[in-house]
């Protein structure tokens, strides 16, 4: 094959390569041509945008400039010569001058952080590219960006604003966009607020980020947790707008794993009596079934709860929304596992039906001791129910335990405890 033919073949295939589609060559094509098209593929994938340090700053600056274009009447622009000619501006130009002063101030604020502090104090207003101007005294902002990495992907909560109407969070995705339908915000008291609306950013086609809108969080809320349906659980901290660090530090938090501590913010608990709380602290599904970590807590400080288990006599089962019952297959106590403390039980049930989304853990006759009442064997009234929802599961069973997230608390009627003689 002559060079001219190679050149023609190359030209034919190049458009496909640039559109990131595979090239196709006849068997007789020379190896060098294949290598050149592979190199072209490499170049088509080359994206060096992440090297740049100006992306956010430039966006903010352009946002201000673009906003300014909207504020200045296009049909009657103020002649620059008029501004230069008169030391005292005519009344009709005063609004333009004031607007320009605001724009200049905003530009300075965007690029000069110390001036930002002074400007905020003087004016009582702040500015964010995402929202425009806001009153500092009436707004709560994200304390700082938070990023979570997992399997080569990352979700960054890059901005957040709470005003009197709603709570908004702006996310950035690296690796691939994450589904936002079903996202929630959890408050410190366990209350979960589902997202009222969401949108892709910059748009449907290029989903490099997203914006979530929730109800306005109650006054005095400084901590919350953002959950995405694919398992991302990201702590989101808030500060009064006046106190947000001028140069916030990006915080990195680990992606939740199967360890119970990682699920602490997602626990589903019931308090059937004043002295004791029972919680589902973690759950995951694997090829062997559905595993649930159940923890008991004595509410009195310094008091230790110890389960007193007789597996044969305990009524423990899992029930899904279609009332399918999954019997307990294995119960592991602290005596069986060095990983568990005395107040923890690891429960394993048979694999859930593919459609099961909401499950209820039913417990009855659970008995325990409290360290401050060593002589008493206590029994929780039953049946005790803890209900939570599960995300959609993959159709094939994975040999590796997979985290099950999105535990959702449901109200539980508090029964009266009974105390049996020890």
């Amino acid at each position: 094959m002559c060079d001219k033919q190679s050149e023609e073949l190359f030209a034919e295939q190049l458009e496909a390569v640039v559109r990131r589609r595979p090239f196709s060559l006849p068997d007789s094509a020379p190896q060098a041509l294949r290598a050149e098209l592979r190199l072209a593929e490499e170049l088509a994938r080359l994206d060096l945008g992440a090297e740049s340090t100006i992306r956010e700053r430039l966006r903010a600056s352009l946002s201000v400039q673009a906003g300014a274009r909207g504020w200045t009447p296009q049909a009657h622009p103020a002649p620059a010569s008029a501004l230069k000619a008169s030391p005292a501006w005519p009344a009709r130009l005063r609004p333009v001058g004031a607007g320009m002063a605001v724009i200049l101030l905003v530009l300075v604020m965007a690029f000069n952080q110390p001036v930002l502090a002074a400007g905020q104090r003087i004016l009582g207003y702040g500015y964010l590219p995402e929202t425009g101007f806001f009153r500092l005294s009436e707004t709560v902002l994200l304390s700082g960006p938070v990023v979570q990495d997992h399997e080569g992907m990352a979700v960054t909560v890059r901005q957040g604003v709470i005003d009197s109407q709603r709570t908004r969070l702006w996310l950035r995705f690296e690796g691939s966009p994450q589904p936002l339908e079903g996202a929630w915000l959890e408050l410190a008291d366990g209350q979960r607020l589902p997202a009222e609306s969401w949108s892709w950013l910059p748009d449907e086609h290029q989903r490099t980020g997203g914006m979530l809108s929730f109800p306005a969080l109650p006054a005095g809320t400084w901590r919350s947790t953002l959950g995405l349906p694919t398992g991302w659980v990201i702590p989101v901290e808030w500060s009064p707008a006046r106190e947000v660090p001028l140069a916030p530090t990006r915080v990195s938090v680990p992606y939740p794993t199967n360890t119970p501590t990682s699920w602490a913010t997602q626990r589903v608990c019931v308090t059937p009596e004043d002295a004791v709380r029972v919680c589902v602290s973690a759950a995951f599904a694997d090829a062997e079934g559905t595993h649930i970590l159940l923890e008991g807590e004595a509410t009195a400080p310094g008091t230790q709860l110890t389960w007193v288990m007789d597996p044969g006599s305990q009524g423990i089962q899992l029930v899904d929304e279609a009332q399918r019952v999954y019997p307990l297959q294995e119960l592991i106590t602290s005596q069986d596992s060095a990983q568990l403390d005395q107040a923890s039980l690891s429960l394993r049930f048979s694999s859930l039906s593919g459609e099961a989304r909401i499950v209820t853990l039913q417990l009855s006759g659970l008995t325990f001791r409290l360290s401050d009442q060593p002589g008493a064997l206590l029994t929780l009234p039953g049946p005790l129910s803890l209900t939570f929802s599960l995300p959609e599961r993959q159709p094939t069973a994975s040999p590796t335990p997979r985290a099950v997230s999105d535990l959702r608390a449901f109200p539980y009627p508090a029964p009266t405890p009974t105390i049996a003689p020890g």
Partner: protein, 190 residues
């Protein structure tokens, strides 16, 4: 309609809207930032220069967005026409300056040591970028317009004043040369 045509149509509509809607312009900015920056990286090794030229390009695009006319061509061709002018203007200025030593360019690669797998990718990228910088300015320019901007040969011809056929030939020769340079560098490394 192909994906590329769909994107072009969408961008053109967005650009029309951007003349009166700040958010539309910012959407275009998000779509094109990496492409514009990468285009400048084909042309220049100095990251600061690329940042500056990228900022200048978007500021000019914003200032003149009302002048964009979809019937004259896709938005990408218009935007990269501005980018090319800026790159060429900088090139003319840089003629009077000493070129940046290659060792200095390497120092821009980043101060944080990346993980091993990232390092391998980074090595390959450095080799690729180093080899690109060794090409002739016109070859670098056309590779940037082709691969970073994603323009068709016809659009590149419209921007550069070359014939469409000539664009194809230069691109092919550039890739050939780039492949040979990389092979030589890899052989040396082995």
């Amino acid at each position: 309609m192909t994906d590329a045509e769909h994107v072009t149509l969408d961008d053109s509509l967005m650009a029309e809207r951007a003349a009166r809607d700040a958010q539309a312009f910012l959407s275009l900015y998000e779509r094109y930032f990496s492409r514009v920056y990468t285009y400048f990286r084909y042309r220049y090794a100095d990251l600061q220069t690329c940042d500056d030229l990228t900022a200048k390009t978007f500021e000019q695009a914003l200032a003149h967005i009302a002048e964009y006319r979809p019937e004259r061509g896709p938005f990408a061709a218009w935007l990269f026409g501005i980018a090319r002018n800026n790159a060429n203007g900088h090139y003319r200025q840089a003629q009077r300056l000493r070129p940046l030593p290659w060792e200095r360019w390497l120092s821009f690669a980043g101060s944080d040591p990346p993980p091993e797998e990232v390092a391998i990718e980074s090595d390959r990228r450095q080799l690729l970028m180093k080899s690109i910088q060794e090409l002739a300015p016109r070859q670098r320019e056309l590779l940037g317009l082709k691969f970073a901007a994603g323009l068709t040969n016809r659009e590149i011809a419209g921007i550069t004043g070359l014939s469409e056929q000539n664009v194809g030939v230069i691109l092919y020769r550039s890739i050939q040369k780039l492949r040979r340079q990389i092979e030589i560098a890899e052989d040396r490394h082995v």
